[in-house]
Structures are given as structure tokens and as C-alpha cells.
């Protein structure tokens, strides 16, 4: 596997920066949608290489950050039941709900296991038929196919002690919500490459057309992001608003059809509440009626929407791209990864955590 040689090459980066400088004539605000892109930008200092006219704002594509607080509370409530083995991606364990996080629940005696795939959680269910095994299914279109596959297999094999606590969300409706917001400054998008690996990019075509906004499907390495910025700026300067695919080495127009098929079989599109963004119509996935038996909310009670007690935290505005982390008066002072006021400081993909980790508290 090669990384640096091809996609982190300083000479190629300088070449792209020169091309961007030669193209830009006016100020533009672009949003990178995915938290992985945000981290690459801050880690490699890509924003500091760009001309002053280009402002990158950070998008809502951090799965941990947008999971609403009631699902964290529900996760902890389920995890504390003695018959339950609660399985989750590691990144979710540190996210605070109304009271504490899953690490704290584990320290109190709840059986919370970190798994690396929902299929590992299904294995746990097979190994412990006497226990209820619940997997915390969060994330975007990237994680949904594997989660769907776990349920599909559980159904086919008759594994009855397995269920999902589902808080899946979809990217295009969130982009639409941002574009429809009066506070939005976004003039062009770097779309999340990995999401498009699964979904393709046909669903972005009407979005680009309706809102007259260029959308460039972009990868995650420094050169990917610089090229995505270049393509997006080139369109803006030319007054164009097309969908372009920078990440052609991984993304096809139609996406990954088998992955979409299993998602379509197991999940159905529903409205979802997003932490920091509120309810967005048709913006999430829930289990389809035929698989409703695998819904942890059916077995253990539904998550009841709770108010975000944001206080002085501006994570909602950060997730909508309206503010940047250092604009928050609490950043690095009253809000740190040890004592986070909001999820964007907790998650390894959160924008505030990226600034804190790579640029320090100042």
C-alpha cells in the first residue's frame, strides 16, 4: 500500500497550490463535508497553503458528532441492563450523553465491547445465545452497508439475540439543509469521497443544479483535497455548478450497487434528528418493516428526543459550517478533549478536536 509517495508529495502539492493561485480572483467559501477531510486539512495545514481568498468551512460529516443525545442516553440505558452485551465502534465510547459516557458505564460494570465491524458483534451474539447483543449502528452511508449485512445475516441464520440501535444518517439531505439555511456561507462543496464510493454521485446532480453550487467528489489525502479545491474554484470562477469526480480511483458514478442493495433490503429512509442541526426530513435510515424485529428500540423502548443542553457550546454552528472552532470563546479554555462541552471536541473526527489536536489550545 502506498500513501505518501503518491498523494502526499510536496512537489505535486506546490504545483496544485500554484494552479489554485492562478485561478482564483475573488473570495470563495468551500465546505468539506467529511470529518476525515477536516482532519487531513488541519493535520497537513492545507488551509494554510491556500490563498487568502479561499475559506474552508467544516461540514457535518462526523458520525459521532451528529448522533443525537437521546441515542447516547438510550445506548447507556441498554448497556447497563445485565442481560446485554453492548457492542460499539470505539469512537462512540467517549461521547457524553446527558450523564456520562459509555466508558463510564463500562467502569460501572456495564458490559461494553469495542468491535471493529458489526459482523464481529454478530459473532458475539452467536457465541452468547443466553445474552442480548446490541450493536450501536451509527454513521453515514459508509457504515450502513456492513450494518445492513449483519442484520441480513442474523435474519437468515435465525440469530434472535442480536439487534441494532440505529442512528444512521444520510449526507445529501444535510447538504440540502445547509444550503437552505439563511446563515450558510457555503458556495461550493467537497463531497465525502467514501460516502460516494458506496452511493455514487447521481444523487448530487439535482442538488448542484437546484442550488447552483459546484460539488466535487473528493478523497482524503492532501493532494486529493488540494485537487478538489482546485476543481471547485475553477467551476466557481467560471460560473459553473456541476458535479465533478476528483476521487475517480475509488468512486464510480453509480457507486457500489451490491452495497446499496443490502442497504435497501434492510433499511428504509426516515426523518432523523441530527445533533446540532435538528430534524431533517428523509435524512436517515431506520430498519425496514421486515427487519423491525432486530430493532433495539423495539426490544428496549424507543429513544425519546431530548434537548441538547449546549450552553455556550457552538458545536451546532460548527457542524453547519457557520463558525470555526477557534471562534468559540470556550475553545481550549473551558472546552478541551478531557472536559468537552460538545461532541465536536470529543470525536476523533470532530472539527474542534482536529484544531485542538493539531494546532493546540491557543
Amino acid at each position: 500500500m502506498k500513501f505518501r509517495e503518491e498523494y502526499r508529495d510536496p512537489a505535486a502539492a506546490r504545483h496544485l497550490v500554484r494552479a489554485i493561485n492562478a485561478t482564483v480572483t475573488r473570495p470563495w467559501t468551500l465546505m468539506e463535508v467529511c470529518g476525515g477531510q477536516t482532519h487531513a486539512i488541519v493535520r497537513y495545514g492545507i488551509d494554510q497553503l491556500l490563498p487568502d481568498q479561499i475559506s474552508l468551512v467544516h461540514g457535518p460529516g462526523c458520525p459521532v458528532c451528529v448522533t443525537p443525545v437521546e441515542y447516547l442516553d438510550k445506548a447507556m440505558e441498554i448497556a447497563r441492563r445485565p442481560e446485554v452485551i453492548f457492542c460499539s465502534f470505539g469512537d462512540m465510547l467517549r461521547v457524553p450523553g446527558t450523564a456520562g459516557d459509555l466508558f463510564a458505564a463500562r467502569a460501572d460494570g456495564a458490559e461494553v465491547r469495542i468491535v471493529y465491524s458489526p459482523l464481529d458483534a454478530l459473532d458475539v451474539a452467536r457465541e452468547h445465545p443466553e445474552r442480548e447483543v446490541v450493536f450501536f449502528a451509527v454513521g453515514f452511508e459508509t457504515t450502513a452497508p456492513a450494518n445492513a449485512m449483519a442484520v441480513y445475516r442474523a435474519a437468515r441464520e435465525g440469530v434472535r439475540n442480536f439487534s441494532l440501535l440505529v442512528s444512521h444518517v444520510l449526507v445529501p439531505p444535510a447538504m440540502e439543509a445547509i444550503l437552505g439555511s439563511a446563515a450558510s456561507r457555503v458556495q461550493g462543496f467537497l463531497a465525502a469521497g467514501h460516502v460516494c464510493t458506496v452511493m455514487g454521485f447521481e444523487e448530487y446532480l439535482p442538488l448542484a443544479e437546484r442550488h447552483r453550487v459546484p460539488i466535487v467528489v473528493t478523497g482524503f489525502e492532501p493532494l486529493d483535497i488540494l485537487e478538489g479545491v482546485y476543481l471547485c474554484v475553477r467551476q466557481l470562477e467560471a460560473g459553473e455548478s456541476r458535479v465533478e469526480n476528483q476521487y475517480a480511483r475509488a468512486v464510480r458514478r453509480e457507486g457500489n450497487r451490491p452495497a446499496q442493495a443490502v442497504m435497501g433490503e434492510v433499511f428504509t429512509v426516515i426523518p432523523r434528528r441530527w445533533r446540532g442541526m435538528g430534524e431533517i426530513p428523509r435524512s436517515g435510515l431506520g430498519l425496514a418493516p421486515a427487519y423491525a424485529g432486530f430493532d433495539a428500540e423495539r426490544r428496549f423502548g424507543a429513544a425519546v428526543p431530548a434537548a441538547d443542553t449546549a450552553g455556550e457550546c457552538i458545536s451546532g454552528a460548527v457542524l453547519r459550517g457557520e463558525k470555526k472552532p477557534p471562534e468559540c470563546p470556550a475553545f481550549g479554555v473551558r472546552c478541551t478533549p478531557e472536559r468537552p462541552l460538545g461532541v465536536t471536541m470529543v470525536s476523533s473526527e470532530g472539527a474542534c478536536a482536529a484544531y485542538y489536536r493539531y494546532r493546540g489550545a491557543a
Partner: protein, 348 residues
């Protein structure tokens, strides 16, 4: 909450209610635990040295250190809990500039542990002790009920003699020092994660677990102006450099491209979303030496197998104090800070 049967110990405001895994992760949570509970309770001048071991006078200068080993699985590519328990303590003494001499070994055994496993661990410890030139001269055994431990836990303590004239400690680090790294980083942490089998990673990455006293003592004996050495265990390269920068009140500037990481370690880190700078090592150290001695020090280190891949990765400057910056491949510097606890694999 039930009243504690122990004497009152005032905790800093906002301290965690209970111990969590992050408190042992080598990051900021562990630093807070040590400062808030242990340093507060035991405060004395030797603890204030804030080093891998304590240095004191006892018919000559000595170093004392202790470490507990709870690694799982007990055996992993490149080592096992026994070799780790000897090398880890030998290395902590070496990081004080001491020649390791005598070790103690305390065992907490879980009822049901296979006797062949225990025998194998003892043999591994004996071999590691021979290789490091130390003797295990006293010990202790406790057996607990099945389920109250994870096979075997080992504590080792060690004493060593110090011959260096100047203290080898963070306080000796000064602006202008060169920062040397003894070889490639990240292998131990990835090898142990892969050996746990829950990553689905098939790799032949082996731990770098090894004794480090010989190359460190070679620097001292050759008269290299060695100001500080720190092994890169929990918290990795980043953790070690940040601790030294904070304790010495200096700025450490590192060039990321000069930090060696093997391709297979880099690939595993990319897949899991981990930063190799924070992954644990058990046979690597960073050395802070006077700039004029850097070339000679590198040549000396490269004569030893465990530090054959030694390189210069950066230098110490006066400002910004207590900070580590890493200049990335695109030339833009970023701050390297302690993490809260362990790195967690990302979601997507």
C-alpha cells in the same frame, strides 16, 4: 455514594468519579491521575524529578524504578509478558543513565493458569535478564481466584548504578540540543493489537521489545553530552517528547518525514485511523544530545543492533516553551500534544 473506608484524600475539582481505561493510556488522563492522586499524596524531591525512575545517593548514585505488566495476549510476535517485564524495567533504569543491576519480580497469578505457561514466562524472563546483564534477585507470588485476574500480572522493580557525571534527565535539556530517535516506531503497539485477533489484521509485524541499556551507556561512556533519554512506551514518540518538552520547559521541533515508520506499520495505522507517533514501542528511545555531539552519537548508536536505525529527527529550541511541533510532508508545522487516553480506531 458509600462512605470511603480510607483516610480523606481531597481530589482536584472536576476529577473523574472512578478509574477508567484512559487513566492507564499514557496520555493526559494518566498524567492527571498521577499528579492528582499519587504525586499529591507522596510528594518529595525524588518524585519531582518526573523521570522514568528516581535517582538518589546510597553509597554512590543509584536509580530505582518499578513497572507492572498486564499485557494481553501473554505472548505476541517479538515477545511475551516475561521479556517485556524485564526489558521494560531495564529500559526505565537505562533512561535514568543507570547501568541496570538487580531486579525484583512480583507475580499475581490467576487460579487455573497453566503451569507450562508460567514456566515459559519464567524462562523468557531468565533469558531477557541474561541478555540485559541483570539478575532477578527477589520476588513474590500471590494467587487470586479465577476471574479476579487475567492469567498473570507481573511487577518488576530494578536498581542500577549511575556513572554519568551530569544528570540525564529532562531538566538538563537545553535549546540547541539535537533530538535523536533510535529506530522505526510503532511496531510493539500494532503487533499486540494484531495478536489480540479482533482486528482481522494478518500481519507479520513483530514487537520491537528489547533492552536499551547498552547503547545508552555507550553514549555516556564515550563522553557524549547526553542530556536526556526517554523510552517511547505508552503514549509513543509523541507522549515522550511532550513530557520532556513540558518538564524541561523547551520547544521540541520534529521533522515528520525523518521519523522512520515501516510500511506495514504505516498501512495498519492508516486502516485503523491511528497516528504512529502515539503508538507504543518497547525498544525505542529518544535521546537529547548537545548538537555538536549529534553525529558522533548517531555513529555510536548505529553500532548496536537495537539502535542500528538511529536518526536525527529534530532539535530543541527555547520557544514556544513546553510544546512539540511536527513539520509535516507539506512543510506546515502542527502541534503534537498528549492524547486524553488511548487512541481509538475511527468509525469510517
Amino acid at each position: 455514594m458509600a462512605e470511603s473506608p480510607f483516610p480523606a484524600c481531597p481530589l482536584p475539582a472536576g476529577f473523574a468519579d472512578s478509574v477508567q481505561l484512559a487513566h492507564g493510556g499514557g496520555g493526559r488522563a494518566m498524567q492527571q491521575l498521577i499528579d492528582g492522586i499519587f504525586r499529591a499524596a507522596f510528594d518529595n524531591p525524588w518524585l519531582q524529578q518526573r523521570h522514568d525512575g528516581a535517582v538518589f545517593e546510597l553509597n554512590g548514585r543509584c536509580a530505582l524504578t518499578t513497572d507492572s505488566y498486564v499485557v494481553w495476549p501473554l505472548v505476541f510476535p517479538g515477545g511475551d509478558i516475561g521479556s517485556l517485564a524485564v526489558n521494560g524495567t531495564v529500559n526505565d533504569l537505562a533512561m535514568c543513565g543507570a547501568r541496570p543491576r538487580y531486579l525484583s519480580a512480583g507475580f499475581v497469578l490467576e487460579e487455573g493458569l497453566a503451569m507450562t505457561t508460567l514456566g515459559g514466562i519464567a524462562a523468557s524472563m531468565a533469558a531477557a535478564a541474561r541478555a540485559a546483564g541483570v539478575y532477578i534477585v527477589t520476588g513474590d507470588v500471590k494467587v487470586v481466584d479465577r476471574g479476579r485476574a487475567d492469567g498473570v500480572y507481573i511487577n518488576t522493580a530494578g536498581v542500577g548504578e549511575i556513572s554519568a557525571a551530569a544528570p540525564v534527565a529532562p531538566a538538563s535539556v537545553q535549546a540547541g540540543d539535537a533530538v535523536l530517535l533510535s529506530g522505526d516506531i510503532g511496531r510493539h503497539g500494532i503487533a499486540v493489537m494484531a495478536a489480540r485477533g479482533d482486528l482481522g489484521l494478518e500481519t507479520d509485524i513483530a514487537s520491537d521489545c528489547a533492552p536499551l541499556a547498552e547503547p545508552v551507556l555507550a553514549l555516556i561512556e564515550a563522553g557524549i553530552r547526553l542530556h536526556c533519554v526517554r523510552d517511547l512506551t505508552r503514549g509513543g514518540l509523541a507522549g515522550a517528547l511532550v513530557e520532556v518538552a513540558q518538564d524541561a520547559g523547551v520547544a521540541v521541533h520534529v521533522r515528520e518525514d525523518d521519523v522512520p515508520v515501516r510500511a506495514e506499520v504505516r498501512a495498519a495505522c492508516e486502516l485503523l485511523g491511528l497516528d504512529p507517533a502515539y503508538v507504543a514501542n518497547e525498544g525505542r528511545f529518544a535521546a537529547f544530545v548537545a548538537a555538536g555531539d549529534a553525529e558522533r552519537a548517531l555513529a555510536l548508536l548505529r553500532e548496536h543492533e537495537v539502535s542500528a536505525g538511529a536518526v536525527c529527527i529534530g532539535e530543541v529550541q527555547a520557544a514556544p516553551a513546553a510544546q512539540v511541533t511536527l513539520r509535516g510532508p507539506l512543510g506546515v508545522p502542527r502541534v503534537l500534544d498528549l492524547l486524553h487516553g488511548d487512541q481509538l480506531p475511527r468509525i469510517c
